[in-house]
Symmetry: C2
Subunit: 462 residues, 2 copies
């Protein structure tokens, strides 16, 4: 490799972005759109975790295997019968092709906007200077503004190291070309639950283990309870409150041992116990930038970690979701471009678990609002909705959380409830009162009418 692999001779930029995941890539794109000269540094793949080994491939798998679940629901309702076989090898290939094509389109888009892409690691040297390096090649970039968007990686505890043969992390799971007959899922968060559903749809026996006393612990407890009920009806072995001592590959099997001395064995194990920020090795110390907890970069109200240095997305730990990173990117660029000087504010950030069922949540849940005013909830069961009936998937509900008579949060669990997430985000953002419900004509019939039903239902004081 020669120095010509680096895109430009000129090394001075209005903005250097480190990390080309959703946050970093969007920051680069939007800044270039503002006429700022941008360098985008990425040591691995454009698109980051989300595109390559996270949200996007997971959703591709869930979408592709969705007919299995839909047929199962209609079979139970005795109106359809049949067999569906998923070709996992073909699906994995399709996924790789789609992701590669997306990366290529991203690269082209960036180049069209005049963004210099450095495929290299980055290290801050001193204020205004970042060193980029790849084998045999090093350069120093000068920046007026720096956006750090290095993302996160899966948490690994001693005794739970993935080998990505038998003990998998998200990357290993998404590289499988055939599904195991049995899978141990360690961690009942969104990543674990979505991947468990994918495996389940291929006929894989599922065991889910979590240290907490419920699945999807960031959700409202009623949502967790509904999820557990649905998964248990699918014969999942869900073990909660379990302290895992070790997971190891033994004779080609995954063996989990608990602190209580229990032993669980499966063909493979998936470790999905959380994520840690990628904050080491990027030279934070050169600017005196501080971190908190497992390494989240501390930022001020403008998302600045130091003067003209911003940390966005998973790296600052505010909300570990791709769309939160993108939204922060938009703010930072508007700030750099002189279009805003106020602090970073975001409306309610929605969160979705995909699969069957889905969950959605936006705004505050009852537990967030203790002592903040008069908290009430109103809810509507999906069994009373004709679209849920049509899909023979009537388990679940929509729940509205009211604070002093205004909508403060909305959550739901059930078939396709992700569909009304944006509407729910707008309703929470606008803080609807009872009187606002008549403003908008909801379509009929629609799943959204379950949201309308929850908004109109009698309120229960908490």
């Amino acid at each position: 490799m020669t120095s010509s692999d680096f895109p430009s001779e000129k090394r001075s930029y209005g903005l250097v972005v480190v990390g080309a995941g959703p946050g970093g890539f969007d920051a680069a794109l939007e800044a270039a759109g503002e006429g700022i000269k941008v360098a985008l540094v990425e040591k691995e793949l454009l698109g980051g975790t989300c595109l390559n080994v996270g949200c996007i491939p997971t959703k591709l798998y869930l979408g592709a295997t969705s007919p299995v679940e839909e047929l199962e629901a209609q079979s139970k309702a005795k109106v359809a019968k049949g067999e569906i076989e998923i070709d996992f090898n073909a699906l994995c290939t399709k996924k790789d092709r789609f992701i590669a094509a997306t990366r290529k389109a991203m690269e082209q888009k960036a180049k069209n906007l005049g963004i210099d892409i450095y495929r290299a690691t980055a290290k801050i040297l001193e204020p205004g200077k970042v060193e980029v390096s790849r084998p045999g090649e090093t350069a120093v970039l000068e920046y007026e503004n720096l956006v750090l968007a290095t993302g996160s990686h899966p948490t690994v505890f001693p005794g739970l190291e993935p080998d990505n043969e038998t003990i998998l992390d998200n990357t290993g799971f998404l590289s499988l070309t055939e599904m195991p007959e049995s899978l141990l899922v360690i961690g009942a968060g969104f990543i674990g639950l979505e991947m468990a559903q994918i495996a389940h749809r291929t006929g894989c026996r599922i065991t889910v283990v979590d240290a907490m006393d419920r699945v999807a612990v960031y959700e409202d407890p009623e949502v967790s309870k509904a999820l557990q009920g649905i998964f248990k009806r699918r014969k999942w072995d869900i073990r909660l409150g379990v302290k895992v001592r070790s997971v190891s590959a033994e004779n080609g099997k995954a063996v989990l041992r608990t602190e209580d001395g229990d032993e669980l064995v499966a063909d493979k194990a998936l470790i999905a116990i959380g994520r840690r920020p990628n904050s080491s090795g990027i030279g934070l110390e050169a600017l005196g930038i501080e971190t908190a907890g497992p390494g989240f970069v501390k930022v001020n109200e403008n998302l600045e970690a130091a003067a003209n240095v911003y940390a966005i997305g998973d790296l600052n730990g505010h909300i570990l979701l791709a769309h939160a990173a993108s939204h922060q990117a938009g703010y930072v660029v508007r700030r750099i471009a002189g279009k805003t000087d106020g602090p970073y504010e975001h409306g309610p950030v929605p969160s979705i678990l995909y699969g069957s069922p889905e969950t959605m949540r936006v705004g505050s849940m009852p537990a967030d609002l203790e002592g903040k005013g008069k908290v009430e909830t109103s809810s509507f069961p999906l069994v009373a909705n004709p679209i849920a009936q049509a899909y023979a998937s009537t388990q679940g509900f929509v729940k509205v959380i009211w604070l002093d008579g205004k909508v403060a949060g909305i959550t739901a669990v059930g078939h396709h409830v992700s569909g009304f997430t944006t509407a729910a985000a707008m309703i929470v953002q606008e803080g609807w009162t009872e009187n606002d419900i008549h403003k908008v004509v909801f379509p009929h019939p629609s799943l959204d009418e379950a949201l309308l039903g929850a908004l109109k239902a009698d309120k229960q004081a908490l």
Copy 2:
């Protein structure tokens, strides 16, 4: 039958509602909730066309047969294979049970609120008096307010009368316990297209005939074009600009003859060429109420056809959609209860075609805005959306219509686009400008991001 079949000895009501479809039933319910003494008169079934032979059973059929289409899409993408068989007899039974249960729940709800239900025909005698009658029984109800919500029925032209054996209307189609091998659909509106899709999914050969030059003529022409493309790829025989002379049952087959002398033959034909209001025989002349066109009741800005007499829903012909009727019902009851005295206003009323693909539309289309200001459009193709990719259903787009820099309308065609209808309705209602786009954090990944993409895309002047 004795007079005790009528619910009450007292025949004096604050509100008499004629017709228990979505408009009439909601009016009765909401008025009872306001403490008004209500009589609800229905000559057929609670729930009207929508529940019994319209939107609800159609959606049940589309939902139940959805796995067929989803599997087909994944099969074409070569990641799944299999066979699904729909038991249409079981589906028809399930549908009948669900609808009967819903009617029962409606009746119970009405009774719990103290509503008197008269299973009878209604005829206005003079201001303040309606006669209700059923075989062997007649009574006169006195009203302070009257809501006419008698709905509509399928249009029948001479030479195109359904026998509901071979030549079907919506009621006949929804009574089938097995699907024919071939179906002639006369009328490419929403009813025809949804029912054609149901039949298609059971392997039925589809021919669609319409007098217009495109399908779904109330939609934006680009949407019609996309629909035609998708249906043609499914080998539908779509014949546009065809003048039908007659459809008749001959030797157990449906035979269609065109004005041009062509002849089309299929196992059955479905006639879905529009709907006419049920305005005759209800005594409109006793109050001097006028009708227009095919019999739509003329109303003033308060939806009044005469003093204290309201006509809502299909009967007034404003918008022939169930949710429009319900919304009008809410206004009328608030007016009767003294809670509003302004004219009837409704926000944008969304319209959805269900199936694969779906369409959604809300607000104004370009053709509606000619000469009203600076009209621009911006759009986003579904092929660039990861959720559409996940379902291997990437045909279609989202299109935003801008008037003088504000969102005036949104339409879309493609996989599950109904999901963002309520969000789109809110955006149109609020008349978003470019600056409003940043207000709301859209979830990622989601189909809604295609809507966001269309909002953000470069605008094209019309």
